[in-house]
Assembly symmetry: C2
Homo-oligomer: 244 residues x 2
C-alpha cells in the first residue's frame, strides 16, 4: 500500500492509501491506534451502495474498534464508488444506479472486488502494526453482495457481520453457493421492513450460510434504519471472535 | 408482600417474600440496591419449566440490573414450581411433567399466573424503594407461555424480553391473540436448533407480536443454550427502555 495522506485525532491514526491490484488502483483508508506497534486484529469494512470508505457508519465503526479494542480497521471503495470514480463528487444516486446496472450484467464485478479485498488484506498484514493476526469482515447490503463471496473465499476471515441482503438478485446463485461455503462465525443483520430485500429472502440467506456459529438479529424499520445498538453489538461480536 | 428472609451481598439486598393473591400464597424474591430509597425501574423475571425464582440465570440477571443499573428486580415461582410445591425438593423433571399436564388441560393456569404477576406488581410498586416507575418483564420458554399473556394484559409493562417458544402448544390460540395485543418494546430470543419449539413456529410467534418496536435474536444451539451475550444484551435492552 502507498499512503497518500494521514491525520491523527483522539488516539486514532487515519491513513488514506492507494493499493495497486492487477493494474487498477484500489483506494482505501486504514485506522490504527496512535503509535501502534506489533500485531493486532484487523477489521475490514465494506460500505453499502451510494456510500464510500468514508461513510459515517464506516468511520464510526472503525474508530470504535480502534479506540475501544486496540484493533486496526480498513475500508476500501467499492466499484463505481468513492475515489474509484472520475467524478469524485458524484451526483447523488449515480453510484447506486451504476452499481445496479453492473450487478444486473454481472460478469466479473464480484471477482474483482474479492481480489481487491484479498490483495488489500495481504498488503495490510504485511505492516508491522497489523501482522498476521486474526481478521474480520463487516459489510451490509452491497457490503454483503460483494463481501459475502470474499468471506467465503478467504480463510483468514474468522468472523463476519453480514446482512441487509437476501437470497435474491442477479448473483443469487453465486451468493447461495458462497454462503454455503462460509464456516466462520457470522452475525447476520436484517431489517424487518426492508424495502429493498424482503424479510423472507433475507431469512433464506441466513439459512443458507454454512457456519455452525451464526446468529441473526432482526430489527424494526426500513433498509437504512439499522439501530446504533447493532454497531455497539458488532464491536463486541468482532472483539469476542478476534480477541482483544 | 410479607418479607420472610433477607440477605445482603455485594451491594444487593435480596428479600424473600410471600404475597397472598385470592387466597393462594405466591412465593417470590425481590432484589434491590443496598439502601435503596425512592422510585426506580422494576424488572419482573419469569423462570422456565423445571426452574424456580432462584434459578441461576434468574438470580444472575436480577443482580446485573440491580448492580449495574440501580433497578429493582423480582421473580415469583411458577405453578407447580419452587416453593409452590409441597415437596420443595422435587424430583428432577417432576415440575416440568406436571406443568406439561396442566398446560395440556389448560383451563385457568394462565389466568392465575397473570393474576399473580399483576397483584405482585401492584404490591411491589407500593414499596417506597420501587414506586410507580417503569416496569419490564423478562421470561423465556414457560416464562413466555405464562408471561406473554401477562405482558399483553398489563399496560405498565413497557419493555419485554420473550422467546424460546413458538406459536404452538395447547394455548396456541390464546398466545397468538395475546401476542397481537402487545404494544410495548419486545426483544424476542430464538434458538436455531430448539428441540422443544421449532424455529419456524418461533418465527411465527415473533411475527404475531403486535408491537412496532420488536427485535429478534436467533442464536445457534438447542433450547437451553442461550448465550451469555443475550443476558448482557437483555440488561442493555431493559435499561434503554426503562431508563436508568
Amino acid at each position: 500500500v502507498r499512503f497518500t495522506a494521514e491525520v491523527t485525532s483522539d488516539g486514532v491514526h487515519e491513513r488514506q492509501f492507494e493499493h495497486d491490484v492487477a493494474g487498477r488502483g484500489v483506494p482505501g483508508v486504514l485506522w490504527t491506534p496512535t503509535g501502534a506497534a506489533g500485531p493486532r486484529p484487523l477489521l475490514l469494512i465494506g460500505h453499502g451502495a451510494s456510500g464510500s470508505k468514508r461513510e459515517g457508519y464506516v468511520v464510526s465503526l472503525a474508530r470504535r474498534v480502534v479506540r475501544h479494542r486496540g484493533f486496526a480497521a480498513a475500508a476500501i471503495d467499492g466499484p463505481v464508488h468513492g475515489d474509484r470514480r472520475a467524478d469524485k463528487g458524484a451526483v447523488a444516486g449515480l453510484p447506486f444506479l451504476e452499481f445496479s446496472q453492473l450487478w444486473a450484467g454481472e460478469k466479473s464485478m464480484t471477482d474483482a472486488m474479492v481480489g481487491d479485498w484479498r490483495s488489500t488484506l495481504d498488503a495490510l498484514q504485511g505492516l508491522d502494526e497489523i501482522g498476521a493476526g486474526p481478521a474480520g469482515y463487516w459489510g451490509l447490503s452491497m457490503g454483503t453482495i460483494l463481501g459475502l463471496p470474499f468471506v467465503a473465499a478467504e480463510p483468514r476471515i474468522t468472523a463476519a457481520v453480514l446482512g441487509l441482503m437476501g437470497l435474491t438478485g442477479p448473483t443469487r446463485a453465486r451468493i447461495g453457493a458462497d454462503a454455503a461455503r462460509i464456516t466462520c462465525a457470522v452475525l447476520f443483520l436484517v431489517q424487518h421492513h426492508d424495502e429493498l430485500f424482503s424479510y423472507d429472502r433475507a431469512l433464506e440467506l441466513f439459512e443458507a450460510i454454512g457456519s455452525e456459529d451464526k446468529s441473526l438479529h432482526v430489527n424494526p424499520g426500513r433498509h437504512g434504519a439499522v439501530p446504533v445498538e447493532e454497531f455497539e453489538f458488532s464491536e463486541r461480536f468482532v472483539s469476542r471472535h478476534l480477541g482483544g
